[in-house]
Amino acid sequence: MAAYILRRLWQMVPTILGVLLLVFFLFKYFGGDAAEILGGLNATPEQIAAIRQQLGLDQPVWVQLAIYLKGVVTFDWGRSWATNEAVSNLFASRLPATLTVMLPILILDLLLALPIAMWVASRRGSLADRAIMVVTTVALSISFLVYVIVGQYLFGFQLGWFPVQGWSDSVWTNLAIYAPLPVLLAVMVGVAPQTRLYRSFFLDELGHDYVRTARAKGLTENTVLFKHVLRNAMIPILTNIGLSLPGVFVGSFLIEVFFSIPGLGREILLAVNRSDYPVIQAIAVYLAVLTMVINLVVDLLFKLVDPRVVLK
């Protein structure tokens, strides 16, 4: 086990290095001159030269790369060009808002999609199954943007059930007052594709021989579904959740922008619009590392869930 974890961690090194190189060269060669962005529109050539010297931009590329890598290794991400806020501070202050919205979405999506998917899969081809498939197809074809626009107008503006937007400092106020509308809308969007996906997982499992055996020995349909099929179908479902976890940490850009939630996603968009490279670079690298760690943890969890899995 320990050897496996060590080997996996070792395998991450080239990938992380690749992410760092990609991010570095992307912004270095395609991103415009950092000193001119930083200097602003009214900067004199002397000022730009001074900034260039200060950032080490007049050094050879490999020196710049070394400076960048040194910053990454020592967790010194530098400061935002636009606000001069330390990037590490940015994570700490923006992540809670993102998680306050994204975790309920993740949990509710699962809690809704799983029973629906199981129910329609066990009645494959029935009217309910076909109706749900048609509804999900139509639901999927409408842009997320439309849900958010119409949802905010209808529930926030016309009916007045929720505040149109807003955010507070207290987690409980946020969860009780400001988060419900964004969460509701995101769940409305997320349930359709997840139901379809989980349905296909259940159908896959229902076609296996062990299901026939279980039925043949006289188990009730419910026992077959809940004791046999559900537990086996949990493996692809867990994989899928594991894959979607890194996305939770970015947050839904659209939701955060639309509802003015001060989360990480909105911060990234602001950074993109301001050409605030240190912030984008740091978030990209941080999320890449997080993705890899989550993948490792998911693989380890499989070992716990399913004893047949051999880690190699």
Binding site: P14, V250, N273
Partner: protein, 351 residues
Amino acid sequence: MTQAHSRGATPQLFERSEGVWHAAWRRFKADRVGLSSAIVVLAFLLLVLLASLGVVAKGWQAEVGVANAPPTLMGPRPPEAMGALEVPKGPNVDLSAVDPLAPRYAEIEAAAKKYQSSDSIKAKTLALGADRMGRDVLSKAVKGTQISVFVGLLAALLATLIGTVLGALGGFFGGKVGDFLEWLYNVFEAIPSILLIFAFAAVFGRGISTVVLILGLAGWTGLYRQVRAEFMKHGGREYVRAAEAIGASAYSRMFRHILPNVSHVILVRMSLLVVAFIKSEVILSYLGLGVGVEDVSWGTMLAEAQSELILGHWWQLVTATALMALFVTAFSLMADAWRDALDPKLRGAES
């Protein structure tokens, strides 16, 4: 491959077995849902073609109606009551003693006569209403359809091209090349795709071709994986080794022998990418990272619709949503039908 063997009890030597595409077409024709959605998609493509040739929706920027003119079915908006301000009845106060421009009014009026201006008559209602600048929503929607579908198709083409070439190289050669490409794939997979799109958007700027580039560069990984697996599978098959034996070059084996045999997989994947990219373009345009302000797409229409909706002007939102939903539904159903027809083994699988 799904080459149907001869059905007779005594197979004739020279009977040609049914080709993949022929068999697929036969299966596709039997699928009524797939066929009718293909017709809808074709209609959209025709519209896109006509719009890009300038036959329809050429003057989408013209302000042909009054601002926010409602759709014809609803009738013109009742004139707003102007109760608050009364028109003054008495003569204006004579300011000519202190007005510095007073001696030059005659001169100004003479100069103004040289220019002719005519007030165009603005329509009170339009077929599908007008936006806040009085532009016809119908022409706008047609033009927006052109751009959105264009972006989706081109970006999918780019992603397919990158994914296919890299997948073919990685799967066929393996070894050092394969390892390098796997590393590249891992790097791209490690960054969440939306963040990758944003990072590219940050450096490449805005515009239609940029959106195509960004979506293509960020979206090739899934296709690469599948093409690579297919090429690994096919690389060792007899027909490829036979081609090698008669002296076919690596390039020829990859793209003239294997590629046609895996092209159905690529086609299905690509059609799924089109839908995904159209949806991404809408979000990107809303966030201000998509097409520029001088263009219109479904995304920019929806972005405008947000502020219009609060004033009760729902027509632009409904038009853009309906067109997009129709196209995306038809395209997904067609892609499903293609998948079922081309690769029956995949039936029921979600991408």
